[in-house]
Symmetry: C2
Amino acid sequence: MNTATIYTEALTKDAFAPFGDVLEAAGDADMLINDGQCKRYHDRAQLELVRGGRAGLSIFQAQPRALPYTFTMMERHPHGCQAFIPMQAAPFLVIVAPDENGAPGMPRAFLTKPGQGVNYHRGTWHGVLTPLSEPAIFGVVDWIGDIKNLEEHWLKTQYVVETAIE
Amino acid sequence: MNTATIYTEALTKDAFAPFGDVLEAAGDADMLINDGQCKRYHDRAQLELVRGGRAGLSIFQAQPRALPYTFTMMERHPHGCQAFIPMQAAPFLVIVAPDENGAPGMPRAFLTKPGQGVNYHRGTWHGVLTPLSEPAIFGVVDWIGDIKNLEEHWLKTQYVVETAIE
């Protein structure tokens, strides 16, 4: 099996746009609520959920990983988006890839800042949940229904994620 | 105006059940996913969203408060639940009250532990978002639609929340 190295990138709205939404309190809020005491960044995720299921809210607790991190599998959810809201202010790794004829293309690895979550758009290829420290608890909004909503793809190349040299 | 003191209670599933869901990675997970590396506590919130709107995901950033904390207003959302997922591992205050003939009854103040969020069930009287430290960023799932979804009630008693003496 071939091995290739990819380097972490900062997670920004623009860079992540082809894959999903960055969930963060950045820039101007859409509304001030609670007598001015709370900023509301309103409706910031494209919650696409195919008919036959509904939005659900689950909690994930994942095993922390370390960099360099090696992976050989990516997955996607055909019936809906999947949002990850970290319940701690710690960076985690967000691995995504464009679709190329039904398979993941070249992956990219984003490193979040504290206070950033992500929403993978429906059908976006992504890696498994990869926190880098404990605790590693996430609120997850995704499609819940009675049929299978997971497609896994084993890669022909083994990718190693390393920290970008600053 | 009368003043009354209420003391913080620990946030537990049973104590909070009349008001909503506690969102946490506690007890047995419902599924192990990602090759055993991730626990999924599946579908842990009653996401009741009345027709005419849809689930939305927003980010709130609130001003931290301090204890003792005084409040004279509670609110509720007639068209749907509202889930708060803290994006930092810090306790925050969750003030709720039972409904008594269309007005809030005696309030209760729960103090979360790190890793706990809440989902207010549709129509539950609650206080404004009250973090106790910075950063104070929350992922919020609630009903989004074109009509007003907020009812505010000014109390005849001013309540002061104090920490319970251990």
